[in-house]
């Protein structure tokens, strides 16, 4: 990014983790450098982490089973943690969840640090738990996560299907923090990715200053539910 408001950029290496407290108004721009990336993500109110991203409230408030520009991520307290303010992909998966050690071992075989060094196999659940532990959080704080850049569609009979090549090289998605949000991310492969080879991808992050949503913000206006979510979020900061 060439934007002068960018505070810094960094890359989440393939299969690695990242966490940071995004201050209210900050914008996180994520770029899928090579295409086919997956970013497992969880979000917490940093001041009171028992308030956290809630998959069900996010889906039912907006009547969606996908995330894209104009939608928001709700906490369990009726407030908005993040808004999706830009998106070149059109579909990010909120239902597929994360892998765990057993899933990764069964799918890709064993690959330990001792032999593979930093290319060793990592899984979503353990990655979340280690990163959460750095903030004093644990297994009780692990809730359903979002998978950015991945697409899982649902058929009429409820079957879940991972859509390959949903995110091309250079694809991006941009989140604006509406609270002081602890964001916990990793680039482990999506648990439903049919690729038989363990092939996580790098994701470039750019963090920049922004401003809280204005009166005419598209995420605020996209649904009356979101409008009320913004009101409740703004009251929290009064």
């Amino acid at each position: 990014m060439q934007d002068s408001s960018v505070l810094w950029e960094e890359t989440i290496e393939p299969g690695a983790s990242w966490s940071h407290v995004l201050k209210r108004g900050a914008v996180l721009h994520m770029t899928d450098l090579e295409g086919g990336a997956n970013v497992g993500a969880l979000f917490y109110n940093f001041e009171c982490p028992v308030e956290r991203y809630n998959m069900a409230d996010t889906l039912k408030a907006q009547h969606i089973a996908r995330l894209t520009e104009g939608f928001v991520l709700f906490s369990d307290m009726g407030r908005i943690l993040c808004s999706v303010v830009a998106d070149s992909v059109g579909w990010h998966d909120p239902i597929g969840g994360c892998s765990n050690a057993a899933v990764v071992r069964a799918k890709y075989g064993e690959s330990r640090y001792q032999e593979a060094r930093n290319a060793c196999h990592r899984n979503g659940r353990d990655s979340f738990l280690v990163e959460l532990a750095k903030w004093g959080l644990g297994p009780r704080d692990l809730v359903p996560n979002v998978n950015f850049f991945s697409r899982v569609s649902v058929s009429e009979d409820g079957g879940m299907e991972f859509q390959e090549a949903s995110s091309p090289p250079g694809a991006y998605v941009e989140l604006r923090a509406e609270m002081n949000v602890l964001a916990v991310l990793n680039t482990c492969p999506h648990p439903l990715d049919p690729n038989p080879k363990y092939a996580p991808r790098p994701v470039r992050l750019a963090i920049r200053h922004g401003a809280p949503a204005g009166a005419d913000d598209p995420c605020r206006l996209s649904r009356p539910e979101n409008g009320r979510g913004f009101i409740l979020t703004e009251r929290y900061f009064l």
């Binding site: 889906l59 408030a61 009726g78 765990n100 297994p139 009979d157």
Partner: protein, 217 residues
């Protein structure tokens, strides 16, 4: 795996070791031991039964909606569904189901989510997450808000479309329909018999449900 599998149980309610009618709007917490069978009966029809499960010996290992639907590659729960924990264990298996489809994406209603979904003035209305909190406080043993995560909505119909839309539809349950599970490990069951009056999940009329437990076969 198909999204609907109607299977009747051969267990006789007269031989159950435990029977209790959970009134509308009330919580119910109870342990079910490994090998026992646990049934929920929708007595009056179209009643959403919000349900959480925990490993009875470690509440941090609890029901996971995402692990459950990922393992079976299907978002609807029915006969044959293994209810997975966050730690990767099978907590219970659905062994009979006369309704055919149950939701696990719609979550539990709350004062706060009702304010978002319907109107800020709806804060006063009784909601599942208040019932769960009341149940957790009374149960004690360290159970608290952090432990109230994703739940199952038995008898509730929340279809997802191929275009990625999610809707709350009229129920597909009728009076007397039931779902039955076998506990694969000792579990704590927490139910909120849903008091929601703002959408059709209870046909706008919350009603009691019955819970039954049988010893293992």
């Amino acid at each position: 795996m198909s999204g609907t599998r109607i299977v009747e149980s051969r267990l006789d309610p007269a031989r159950a070791v435990y029977r209790f009618e959970v009134p509308a709007g009330e919580p119910w917490l109870h342990e079910v031991k490994k090998g026992q069978y646990f049934r929920i009966v929708d007595l009056k029809g179209n009643q959403a039964v919000d349900t959480l499960f925990y490993n009875a010996h470690d509440y941090s290992d609890r029901y996971s909606a995402q692990d459950t639907i990922r393992e079976q590659r299907n978002i609807y729960l029915t006969t044959g569904t293994k209810l997975m924990s966050t730690g990767g264990a099978v907590l219970l298996t659905i062994v009979a189901d006369t309704c055919g489809r149950h939701d696990t994406l719609g979550g539990a209603c709350a004062n706060e989510s009702n304010m978002v979904r319907y109107a800020i003035e709806k804060r006063f209305m009784h909601a599942c997450r208040n019932s769960f909190l009341k149940g957790a406080i009374e149960w004690g043993r360290g159970l608290e808000k952090r432990d109230l995560t994703c739940n199952i909505n038995f008898f509730m119909n929340v279809p997802v479309t191929p275009e990625g839309k999610l809707t709350f539809e009229d129920g597909i349950s009728d009076p007397g329909k039931y779902v039955e599970m076998r506990a694969e490990t000792d579990v704590l069951v927490a139910i909120s018999n849903c008091p929601q009056l703002n959408n059709p999940c209870n046909a706008y009329n919350p009603t009691p449900v019955e819970v039954l437990i049988w010893e293992g076969l």
